[in-house]
């Protein structure tokens, strides 16, 4: 049988010597006159007042002048009996338990299960063991630390995201403000505003995804479109000879953005005098038709930045390129002449990366006046762009571009974090 209660030291005392009220009525009962003066009664037992209180309450005794007189000697004292039962672990009426608990003669045993464990070996440290202090008296089983355990997977950022975040951190540190733009673009922003001629080969169906349905982009700023159109046709006021023609209807055609430089153009046109100097970056998606295999995908991210400010020059452009290459752990950086329709001079950065050799990491240039002037900017604008997907592949040590959009949960769960 499980013992639920045990005696307190006071309860144990009363079990041995009797409850104070029992002691009191016993003494009174032994007197010839069945009475005693208070002073004497008080000396005869300890806990006199407790005994007196209960004896009076139960109407076993009453006071008569200076004397205490036995009124009725109790046949049974249930509390006394209950104390014995509790000590033996017997059944006791709840009412009596409550009384004994109230008189703090018994207390509940809280460590009943744990008691059994004393001196034994346990596997688990339970809250009971801890609370009762019994943990001091048990032995903990020793574990084999080499036993295999089940795998745990944390919630994690996608490995590619981790690279992107790292690049963003770097750019924000360099003072660049992040920009965004629509994924569905007009040719105007995707190409015309960047001085790419209407018949440029990269504007064909093999290089750009067209939006189905034949809807056209809105012309929100007619003057801007006019300036851009004239720049194409005859150079407008840019000092250029222009391309000799411009196709307005083509400019209104909707395409899936094929270069984030569209966002740079949209940013430039919004710049006010007081916004300059300004540094902007964008890391976002572009779309271009291509074969879909381990090396190519039709959706890709570009990381692009511009710096607009008085007195900026080609050396500064190279400075930014070098700084960005360092993000990817470049050991050395070299520069090659290159060509982009919207920048002049144009340069390609090549970085020496450990275990990879020389890798082309990004293109850059100073925006042509044919780009900046129609957009209302008359300071030099440095521009650079990186194929961040390819750089992420280097950083992540993967050779298949499809891992950037991995549908392999195992790989995502097990891939180490980017450090």
């Amino acid at each position: 049988m499980v013992k639920n209660y045990e005696l307190t030291p006071e309860g144990r005392d009363y079990l041995k010597n009797g409850l104070p009220e029992k002691q009191l009525v016993d003494i009174l009962n032994k007197q010839p006159m069945k009475s005693l003066p208070f002073d004497e009664a008080k000396k005869s037992i300890s806990n006199f007042y407790i005994g007196l209180q209960w004896a009076l309450k139960n109407k076993w005794a009453k006071s008569f002048g200076k004397d205490l007189v036995l009124a009725k000697y109790p046949e049974k004292i249930p509390e006394q009996k209950a104390l014995e039962e509790v000590d033996k672990g017997g059944d006791v009426e709840q009412k009596l338990i409550d009384v004994l608990l109230q008189r703090k003669l018994i207390k509940k045993i809280v460590t009943s299960e744990a008691d059994k464990l004393v001196g034994k070996e346990v596997t688990t440290l339970t809250p009971q063991l801890l609370k009762s202090g019994l943990w001091k008296q048990v032995k903990f089983q020793k574990y084999d630390v080499s036993v295999p355990v089940s795998k745990v997977y944390p919630g994690k950022l996608h490995p590619y995201r981790q690279v992107i975040e790292e690049v963003k951190e770097k750019l924000i540190g360099l003072g660049f403000v992040e920009a965004k733009g629509p994924l569905v673009e007009s040719y105007f922003w995707n190409d015309d505003a960047l001085f790419m001629p209407s018949d440029h080969p990269a504007r064909g169906i093999h290089d750009v995804f067209m939006v189905k349905g034949g809807r056209q982009a809105k012309v929100l700023d007619e003057n801007l479109w006019k300036r851009v159109g004239e720049t194409h046709t005859n150079g407008w006021k840019t000092g250029s000879s222009g391309w000799g023609n411009w196709n307005f209807d083509l400019a209104r055609k909707l395409v899936l953005r094929s270069q984030t430089t569209a966002v740079s153009a949209r940013t430039l046109v919004k710049l006010k005098k007081e916004d300059i100097p300004h540094k902007m970056f964008v890391i976002d998606k572009n779309f271009r038709p291509d074969v879909i295999d381990a090396k190519h995908f039709i959706e890709f991210d570009q990381c692009e930045g511009i710096v607009a400010g008085e007195g900026l020059n080609f050396r500064h452009l190279l400075g930014y390129l070098k700084e960005i290459a360092n993000t990817f752990g470049a050991e050395k950086v070299r520069f090659k002449p290159s060509y982009f329709p919207f920048t002049e001079p144009s340069v390609e950065g090549v970085a020496l990366i450990k275990d990879m050799g020389w890798v082309e990491f990004g293109g850059a240039g100073i925006f042509r006046p044919e780009v900046t002037h129609p957009l209302g900017v008359d300071v030099p604008v440095l521009a650079w762009g990186l194929g961040i997907g390819r750089l992420a592949m280097i950083k992540l040590g993967i050779s298949d571009i499809r891992y950037l959009y991995s549908d392999n949960l195992d790989w995502l769960r097990n891939k180490e974090v980017v450090r």
């Binding site: 944390p154 994924l183 949960l409």
Partner: protein
């Protein structure tokens, strides 16, 4: 970008100096070109489209010679006065033409290879696949004046190049590969443009030449004829071709073309000029070059320079078609100086960097979802209507569709993130559960009010896939997520097609529908091949 293979031996002969492979590669990389492949005999180079004068091996060799300082400054070309006259009709669909006679050619294998190369690559790139410019090169001695550029009926006949069968022009478009490839340029025309001599048609631009005037190893003199729709491009392309031949020691003779009673002489190889200031140059490239250094640089890039009223007058060779603005000359100063001689320098410009608000919020949301133990997924924005609608039990809605898709898998832009996530679960049924995944990314909806008729919207979606997942599960998560984002919301019971009826809800914030959640319908789970219950939520971040 065009990629061209050159014979190494021919290239070095034209340069006139022995160069090691390393030296050759080094100099090629200094000229906007990239070595793609190299073996003992050949070198394959990727070129940029702005320098068609380098597409031919002779032009490339010339630029290398100048860059190495073997022959600097403006290359002058003599043009002999015209003996040949051409009478041109005005053909509105292909109005511009130019021609030249090239004398004293010595037809070697290298020459033939170069001739075919330059013709193909120029018509493909500058000529926009023959639409803008088409080129014909003939054995001049087989042509018997008088020469005309006229239009004729499609029933007229010639023997096309490399055949021995006479056929009509209409048949050429039908039967011969070149006719099939380029016939669309002549679509809708009742008459076709041709060059004729005393014996009849010898060229059918932009399709094919006659076999009669083909260039053989015995050819001594050439006729180069070009037609096209852009005058400037036609003239420039002729300049590139004839200056290439001149590099092989041939002499150039002009041709006089009569347009009615007006006439013009082609080619014109006189240089043009542009005035650029030393200050302007130094300001843009960030150096403090002396005038003499600049002139030296430009000489090595093939320009002559004189002075004019304090400015540099830069003479531009006739084969350079890429000089539109002073900045184009300035770039050549920098290339001549050598990009790797510049010391990179970050400017001292203090600006305050910051994230775009939508990206900042996205990062917070990702952080929370990772805290709930979810794995991030990045899916393409490109999708298809089977995934977006059919498999989700949805009726097809308006989406941004692609006119020229390259794969059935990617034909439109996604309007919802859930399908992409379900697809991932369907592909990972062998991987241990629970599988809790999320994506924060863009979806694109058609929107007539927007400038580009569409709106990119930042969205978040999550899936919980395990045997005990339920409505309660996802509701707790959504509640926690929105509370952490400090977004007050209300829920409305709302049956969604992809959810179990009675077990999905709409999320409203300030009365606006911002998202939904619920238990995925078994039909939809079946569609994706998922055999474990799944609950899901998707919330539009843009409106938060």
């Amino acid at each position: 970008m065009p990629t061209i293979t050159y014979g190494k031996k021919d290239l070095l002969n034209l340069i006139g100096k022995k160069l090691s492979d390393e030296q050759l590669e080094e100099v090629i990389h200094s000229m906007k070109t990239n070595v793609e492949e190299e073996n003992e005999n050949e070198i394959t180079i990727e070129l940029t489209p702005d320098r068609p004068d380098l597409f031919g091996i002779e032009g490339l060799a010339r630029a290398i010679k100048q860059y190495l300082g073997l022959q600097t400054g403006l290359k002058k070309f003599a043009v002999n006065s015209p003996k040949l006259h051409v009478k041109a009709s005005y053909l509105p669909y292909r109005p511009h033409l130019a021609a030249a006679v090239v004398r004293n050619v010595s037809v070697t294998d290298a020459f033939i290879k170069s001739l075919m190369n330059i013709q193909d690559i120029l018509t493909d790139t500058v000529g926009r696949k023959r639409k803008k410019v088409a080129i014909g090169i003939h054995d001049f001695d087989k042509i018997i004046p008088n020469i005309n550029y006229i239009e004729v009926d499609p029933t007229e006949k010639i023997v096309p190049l490399d055949t021995n069968e006479e056929m009509t022009l209409a048949e050429i478009l039908d039967k011969i590969p070149k006719g099939k490839d380029y016939g669309h340029i002549l679509a809708g025309l009742k008459k076709f443009p041709v060059w004729t001599d005393a014996k009849g048609i010898f060229s059918f631009p932009p399709i094919i030449n006659s076999d009669r005037t083909r260039v053989t190893e015995k050819t001594k003199n050439l006729l180069v004829e070009l037609t096209g729709i852009d005058k400037e491009t036609v003239l420039q392309t002729l300049n590139i071709i004839v200056t290439n031949f001149a590099e092989r020691g041939c002499s150039i003779e002009a041709v006089k073309i009569f347009h009615g009673d007006k006439s013009e002489v082609t080619p014109n190889l006189n240089p043009t000029f542009m005035d650029v200031g030393t200050d302007e140059i130094n300001k843009l490239i960030g150096l403090d070059l002396k005038k003499s250094d600049i002139i030296d640089s430009l000489n090595r890039m093939g320009y002559d320079v004189t002075e004019n009223k304090g400015l540099l007058r830069v003479f531009i060779p006739a084969y350079r078609t890429d000089i539109l603005h002073g900045v184009d000359v300035i770039e050549d100063v920098a290339i001549g100086y050598g990009f790797n001689n510049f010391v990179p320098q970050l400017p001292h410009i203090a600006t305050v960097g910051k994230l775009h608000p939508a990206e900042k919020l996205s990062a917070k949301v990702r952080q929370l979802l990772i805290g709930y133990g979810f794995q991030e997924i990045i899916n393409p924005v490109l999708s298809n209507s089977t995934d977006q609608f059919e498999k989700m039990n949805w009726k097809k809605e308006n989406v941004i569709e692609i006119e020229n898709p390259v794969s059935q898998e990617y034909t439109c832009l996604r309007i919802c993130l859930k399908p992409g996530l379900l697809k991932i679960l369907g592909k990972n049924t062998h991987v241990s559960y629970p599988q809790n995944i999320f994506e924060v990314g863009d979806v694109v909806w058609p929107d007539e009010n927007e400038e580009t008729m569409s709106k990119s919207i930042r969205s978040i979606a999550g899936l919980m896939c395990h045997s005990k997942t339920s409505f309660t599960d996802v509701k707790s998560l959504v509640d926690s997520l929105l509370k952490n984002l400090n977004i007050g919301y209300k829920l409305e019971s709302h049956d969604l097609e992809e959810m179990i009826s009675g077990r999905s809800a709409k999320i409203l914030a300030n009365g606006k529908y911002i998202g939904n959640f619920g238990e995925i319908n078994p039909t939809v789970l079946n569609n994706w091949g998922i055999e474990i219950p799944c609950s899901a939520f998707e919330i539009d971040l843009e409106v938060l």
